[in-house]
């Protein structure tokens, strides 16, 4: 019986988490940070990273511009048309794609190890020399508009979008990064080219390369294709205004006719990723609506009352203020009942906090799941970008078990109370 073999035997790091001794980090003279970690267990490579340009830079009337620009990069360059670009990638089983969030434009790519030079050539070419051909821009526009038409019919998407509008009212985070049909219609080819020329630059760019390549070779490849990039007028990332907390509970319903199920989101603001209370909030969130079959929320909304197949909580923490939300998909006639149960759990969460035992369970889960989350090259690349984006230090994953173990029930309660005020929640419903 023949099996495909990995080209090398087990590396020394097979039982260890990423750390300063096996992560290579280097800042090129033009400001690009390169992070690498070797994995010869599979003959593949994953590349991902980001640039300091996102939806926060979009004017209101052209909302979605950053994402439109990112999506258009591969539609043609000064050297190659879109079919040639994708032919080069797809012919060797590689992939490359771009997208934008509020703060950054991100990219992700994978290939077999032998095709890394090609992958990086195309990454640089699409970032530095896109030509935004008119005809391709129009094709892409139709695709984006179709995506928005589908979003408008998706109860979960619309509940989530409406929740953000309530929670982040008056703050840039209230705006969806993919825009609205009329703002996507308003974007011109020149807008795309201008956005790229103005906002894309090497300063603050990060690229992580994980897989079957020696770090020295990987860094050399990045220097070769992106080392000469300059944008002297690259602006500073826009500053974020503070978020005004909700004063009372605000409920908003979006009616989407003809649907069998309603989606409900109930929640409040959450800590930023760099907030000292983040890990306590994250563990608290696990207890509230993640652990096991979706924590306490899953227990009451799914297991005990059978109201929903999907019921959980999410903590979204990034650069700016986060959100802490409980979501459920329920029969339209059960929306009120589900909302009541969720609000009661939130009240219990801020009144009584969590038990030692619950916390110990989630701490064990957070620590124990690290090897699995870092199994693939994509998982490791994501971890490297995470520590870079939030300045956590190369030894973060080595310190992580101790950081998690140090969180106490009192800290969870404190962070829960700081964010959840049961009398001031955002409640969004989308359904028939």
């Amino acid at each position: 019986m023949s099996t495909r073999r990995a080209p090398h035997s087990a590396p020394a790091n097979r039982h260890s988490l990423p750390g300063p001794d096996d992560i290579t980090r280097l800042v090129l003279p033009n400001g690009i940070t390169v992070l690498c970690r070797v994995n010869f267990n599979s003959p593949s490579i994953f590349v991902s990273g980001y640039l300091q340009a996102g939806g926060l830079c979009d004017p209101d009337e052209k909302l979605g511009l950053a994402d439109f620009t990112a999506s258009a990069l591969m539609r043609g360059t000064e050297k190659h048309d879109t079919q040639q670009i994708f032919d080069a990638l797809e012919s060797c089983g590689a992939s490359l794609s771009f997208g934008a969030g509020a703060h950054t434009t991100g990219f992700g790519a994978h290939s077999l190890a032998e095709d890394l030079p090609l992958l990086l050539d195309l990454l640089a070419e699409t970032l530095l020399q896109p030509s935004f051909p008119d005809e391709q821009v129009e094709k892409l526009r139709a695709q984006l508009l179709t995506g928005l038409a589908l979003r408008a019919q998706d109860t979960a998407d619309m509940a989530s979008l409406t929740f953000d509008q309530i929670l982040f009212a008056g703050h840039p985070y209230a705006r969806p990064d993919d825009g609205w049909p009329e703002t996507i219609q308003a974007v011109t080819r020149a807008d795309l080219a201008d956005f790229r020329a103005r906002h894309y630059g090497p300063r603050g760019m990060v690229i992580a390369i994980v897989g079957a390549v020696e770090p020295k070779a990987a860094v050399g490849q990045v220097e070769r294709v992106l080392g000469g990039w300059r944008n002297p007028s690259q602006p500073e990332p826009p500053a974020l205004p503070p978020l005004a907390p909700l004063k009372k509970t605000i409920t908003r319903k979006v009616t989407i006719a003809g649907k069998s199920q309603s989606d409900l989101v109930v929640g409040t603001s959450g800590p930023a990723r760099c907030d000292p209370g983040f890990l306590a909030a994250s563990l608290g969130n696990s207890i509230l609506g993640q652990f096991g079959l979706m924590g306490r929320i899953g227990e009451v909304v799914r297991e005990k009352t059978g109201l929903a197949y999907s019921a959980y909580s999410t903590l979204n923490s990034g650069i700016g203020p986060g959100s802490w939300e409980v979501s459920a998909g329920v029969n339209p006639r059960n929306v009120g009942k589900a909302e009541k149960l969720i609000r009661r759990e939130i009240e219990r969460f801020v009144e009584k906090g969590v038990t030692e035992e619950e916390l110990a369970d989630s701490q064990a889960n957070f620590i124990g799941r690290l090897p699995l989350s870092l199994e693939s090259n994509a998982g490791v690349a994501g971890a490297l970008l995470h520590i870079e984006r939030f300045g956590l230090g190369l030894d973060y994953y080595r310190r992580y078990p101790d950081l998690i173990r140090a969180v106490t029930p009192a800290q969870v309660l404190e962070t829960a109370r700081r964010h959840f005020r049961p009398e001031a929640l955002a409640v969004a419903v989308a359904g028939p």
Binding site: E90, A149, A364
Partner: protein
């Protein structure tokens, strides 16, 4: 590094496949049962999937309150899937905790409680799961396409089951299903990861040999008669977007033509990854249908997919129609591409490219131990593990002539169902 696998049959008939992979301190354990929606008759549709849900409701040894925490506490991942031909359960755990997965699966092979109260609470959970799916236009369209493609064969209904049956299935129906099919001689245990085969096998024998074999009901045999012509149907529902789904009847996963069809699919709609977990995903911008439909602004996306099944199933293609175009225009361009691949010479290079893409996807799949354990068992459900091991070698033997022949034989209009989702409008308010 990766040792060949080993296969063992216990005296009670349990089929065990083991594969040592020492790239990460992880072990993934999968228990597969040879039962799925293909074994369900009207009145009992959805019983396999509902039984799978009940397997998370506990046993005397692992009550639900313990079961749902015990894996999470160890930092493991676990889940279960019910599909057309099979039902499967997995636990991926840190290597030093692998025993827990083995113990849970041994226990719930025989000892699940099926508490009537839990059955009732799960009834509404599953109805809610179905209602969530019904929110999606593609679910409704796909359900209609399957009903048209399979009049006799049980592939005609959705795995989740029909609402009428979800309202009436009883605790005894579920328990009967469990007792009939959840026996070692109807199961495959597949374990891959960081362990030593001898010790693993010894532990498996200790846990599983005491479980008695059972009398497994014969699998439902209701072959679909040959198609008598093209079926066309429409489904109407909310939204502004038109979808088309085309299903061609194709052979079972174990047939030689199935591999040829995967190459044909790759040429038409782009490469598909075999990986269920992690890795893979190659875009399809240079595929024939993308160029003919999306680049020509008749559609905004097109995708194809084959599923390896026990019985002949469908090659399914889905098209999202361009907002300014009619579905007939997209379908006409689609048909022109099908005729082209049936009639014009296919180059060697195009086939070689599809094979390189498959090799790349295969390599990405080796990054995940869970994915490798999945295939160790999954291949046994419709063929055997050799199918997976020889996949790339057999793919390399596919020729342009074989691909063209497959297109001529299987992609005839008489052999398909064409479903169109017509949106009735309705912007959110």
């Amino acid at each position: 590094m990766t040792k060949p696998y080993s296969q063992h049959t216990l005296p009670n008939g349990l089929n065990v496949l083991l594969k040592e992979i020492h790239t990460a301190p992880i072990v993934s354990t999968w228990m597969w049962y040879r039962v799925g929606s293909r074994d369900e008759t009207p009145g009992r549709t959805g019983v396999s999937h509902w039984t799978e849900h009940m397997q998370f409701k506990g046993t005397p040894q692992f009550p639900a309150s313990i079961l749902d925490k015990i894996i999470a506490r160890e930092g493991g991942a676990w889940n279960a899937f019910t599909y057309l031909d099979w039902t499967t359960y997995f636990e991926t755990l840190p290597a030093d905790k692998f025993d827990l997965g083995l113990r849970i699966e041994a226990d719930r092979m025989t000892n699940s409680t099926f508490d009537p109260k839990e059955v009732e609470s799960e009834r509404t959970v599953i109805i809610s799961e179905r209602e969530g799916s019904e929110n999606e236009p593609m679910f409704k369209l796909s359900e209609a396409v399957h009903m048209a493609a399979f009049r006799v064969h049980a592939y005609h209904h959705e795995v989740i089951g029909d609402l009428a049956d979800l309202r009436t299935i009883t605790r005894d129906d579920l328990h009967r299903h469990y007792r009939a099919y959840y026996v070692p001689n109807n199961a495959v245990l597949a374990v891959a990861g960081d362990f030593e085969t001898g010790a693993m096998l010894e532990r498996i024998r200790a846990l599983y040999e005491p479980i008695p074999a059972g009398a497994v009901p014969p699998r439902l045999e209701r072959p679909e008669p040959p198609a008598s012509g093209e079926h066309r149907l429409t489904v109407e529902g909310p939204g502004e977007t038109t979808f088309i789904e085309i299903g061609y009847r194709v052979p079972a996963g174990s047939e030689a033509d199935f591999l040829t069809l995967t190459v044909l699919d790759s040429l038409l709609a782009g490469p598909n990854s075999l990986n269920m977990f992690g890795g893979g995903g190659i875009s399809n911008r240079t595929s024939r249908l993308y160029r003919a439909l999306v680049e020509k602004e008749l559609a905004v996306s097109v995708h194809g997919g084959l599923t390896a099944t026990i019985d002949p199933y469908l090659y399914l293609l889905t098209i999202i129609v361009h907002p300014q175009r009619k579905p007939e225009e997209a379908l006409a361009a689609f048909d022109a591409e099908i005729e082209r691949i049936q009639n014009e010479r296919i180059g060697e290079a195009e086939i070689a490219r599809a094979i390189k893409q498959a090799r790349a996807n295969f390599a990405y799949g080796t990054e995940s131990i869970t994915n490798q354990a999945f295939w160790l068992g999954h291949a046994e459900m419709f063929a055997d593990y050799g199918w997976f091991l020889t996949y790339l070698d057999r793919l390399a033997k596919v020729t342009p002539a074989k691909v063209q022949k497959a297109a001529q034989v299987y992609l005839r209009p008489q052999n398909r169902v064409v479903g169109t989702y017509l949106p009735t409008g309705g912007a959110p308010k």
